[in-house]
Symmetry: D2
Subunit: 243 residues, 4 copies
């Protein structure tokens, strides 16, 4: 039997402590809500880590035992130490899955892995978002309908300055006239990365069943593949003909 | 100096002869309008062909001298002979560019080259379309703004049953709540294919400057690359070591 | 608990009955060997079907209960009825996985789904093949080393006339000087397709542990995602503003 | 008429001054040879820059007037200042083309744009390389045969730790048993990037006609597209319905 997928839900956890509206929605932080619904799923074992813990809760030991890291950050990207970013980066290339949520698009780790600015357009008036599935055979679309709606969300609009995803799973429609590549899959090194757009802190996004389903699916998709251990560098001359 | 790109604009040319509204917009057919703006461009030399000509105007001779074929069809896809489709198919794989416009998504040739149904959602109430550029470095985006609008268009919505494009250049937003992958690039064989969504016959779409610019750009992009002549089949055993 | 993945291993099953050398390697056919190692795997339940059964063993009932179809054909592609091909085609677009082995590159079903000729170079002198993993984070690479070797194989060489795969997992090196894209993943409709190169009938390829591992991995990857049921065609006008 | 493409050929230019063997092949440096064959081409205007010039010859002024930057580095990647790397990075995302040659795979700029280690296997015994065209319709394959050979080269082998290219144009075969993705196209921001493998300093690689043809083709492909000027950040609420 396969052992459970070990997830660490990382959250900046600042808005929830400083903003009354956000605190009301997520009294224990978004990470707590996300870990809770993940832990209801067979085969997933989720813990949490936050910015203000020592080493941001992202010690080498924690990362080494993490199969999939989920990341939410917004207001304090620059407070994440370069050392922690480097540790996460190496673990991703070594096979750990990474799920970047919403405003995490501007995190140091996502920008470093994408190699681009990851910039975008935004507008926070609580407009309607419709998230369309464009790759219905992808495991991250399991159990979804053709689209799902979020009645009030912050808008993110194209041009989203990312590399074209290896697989584009979702495209968002916004009432105000914009579109967005909302579900983007990447292979980087031996790791898999999924960017998922929804999640503005002032709306109860992570209580929504479709959003939870997507994150659960993404955890399963992003779990390490246990592929070859790659050797880099000098390789010896073949001693005899390999023909 | 490079010789001009030889374009053949193929049109079903039925709506324009039977429907008064369409006739008013395109008295000589859409193909005439498209060929006209192409011929104003340096380095492009455009002719036309239509369904009701002998062999649909797509004789082997015409195809052999065509660098890029543009295709508009809607009401009579099934009247296109399998022989003509096969000739076009072989020419595309041999290097001829192919630009499929709007309702051409359901043409025999596009379905054959894509290997999928190319089905989609549609609604014809003349709603607003906004076409967003998502790959600003692609040559088909040359000279465009971040988006352009078509005030009244037929809606095409996802799921669009196509292979994920090699490069996705445009995504459309529709007022009624849908999105669509509107500019899709493919390599097939030695040929390049571009699907471009706009062009419902009851609106003057092909008079619009941005639409014309996209088609001009696509012609240049899709022109044959003059790459290697590929040999298939049995290859002899190396007579001596190739090391 | 997830129900087992139902696999149907389809084989042309002609070489094994007509050619003594092949019969010796696969006395009950390649399909029997493949089904056998699949059935040793937890969560996989494999049956077989062959060309000379009624409807080639590919009745609607069989296909409807098949999650992943594996396909080996070579000498009798044209004897597969268009009706059977059409049934398989629809099931793939509807979500069934499809794994095409070796000379199945020239099967009707693969050519129809790819939209290209699927032609290639070949040479049958039993040279060495080395299959390199180029996407180590992909689930089809699970449990493999950086490469594996097949001491004697038929060579397949580029240009392989396929659409660029959505994900390229393996590249083969051949002693005689050729390379080949040997592990190619595609989404088509709601289905997933994997092309896997090895498997010439005169060598005991499907007894090789790495080859078996790849096929097992591919079955798991290609199993249906149970994503949205897609609706195509006309969609009604929104009765009220969706903003 | 289109103005010429302004190319800057950047070279580390150390091996040529320190190593007699390399000096003999490239007495004025590889950059001089590359610029020379580029300048013979209509529509290309090439200059050079080297590591030991002030600001490595990569001042803002030089970069601002460069359409395509070609990069060769090997022994002194770490001597390239972070400021210069940042200037190049911003220009690429802003539309400048970038062609990375051979050992430039390990340059700061390539690793930053790829988001991965860009590590690989290597062996320097002067074995034969065969470079196969796998996307014959791509403009970078113009004028080539199905493959070309380099009789003596340093081997680079997979796993090459890069993101899967947007388009894979070449795959190399090496006599010693390795394969390599040798021609890789990327869009990043508004810029286009091409990685091209050949070019070890101890062999006269850049005198070879096919290698020169590839670089000329890549310059034309990577030239800026003059697409939309992208605006990021806050966008205002639509004042009226956009429906």
């Amino acid at each position: 039997m396969r052992r459970p997928i070990k997830v660490t839900v990382w959250n900046e956890y600042r808005h929830e402590r400083k903003n009354e509206k956000v605190k009301e929605i997520y009294p224990n932080g978004m990470h707590a809500v996300i870990a809770e619904f993940l832990n209801k799923e067979d085969g997933i074992n989720a813990g949490t880590a936050t910015l203000d813990e020592p080493e941001h809760g992202l010690t080498q030991e924690v990362l080494d035992s993490t199969d999939v890291l989920i990341w939410w950050g917004h207001t304090a990207h620059n407070e994440v130490s370069d050392e922690a970013v480097e540790r996460v980066y190496k673990r991703v290339l070594d096979g750990m899955g990474l799920i970047i949520l919403h405003s995490g698009h501007f995190s140091k780790i996502f920008k470093k892995l994408m190699g681009t600015t990851c910039n975008l357009k935004w507008r926070a008036v609580g407009e309607k978002e419709r998230i369309w599935v464009v790759e219905p055979g992808h495991p991250i679309a399991e159990g979804l309908g053709e689209y799902f709606e979020i009645p009030h969300e912050e808008m993110y609009g194209e041009r989203f300055d990312i590399p074209a995803p290896d697989t584009l799973v979702f495209i968002s429609w916004f009432a105000g006239g914009e579109v967005f590549r909302s579900g983007c899959c990447y292979h980087r090194g031996a790791g898999k990365i999924f960017y998922f757009r929804p999640g503005h802190e002032t709306y109860p996004i992570y209580y929504k069943s479709e959003v939870q389903k997507v994150i659960i699916n993404a955890v399963k998709w992003a779990a390490p593949a246990n592929g070859p251990e790659v050797q880099f560098g000098h390789v010896p001359e073949p001693l005899e003909s390999i023909r």
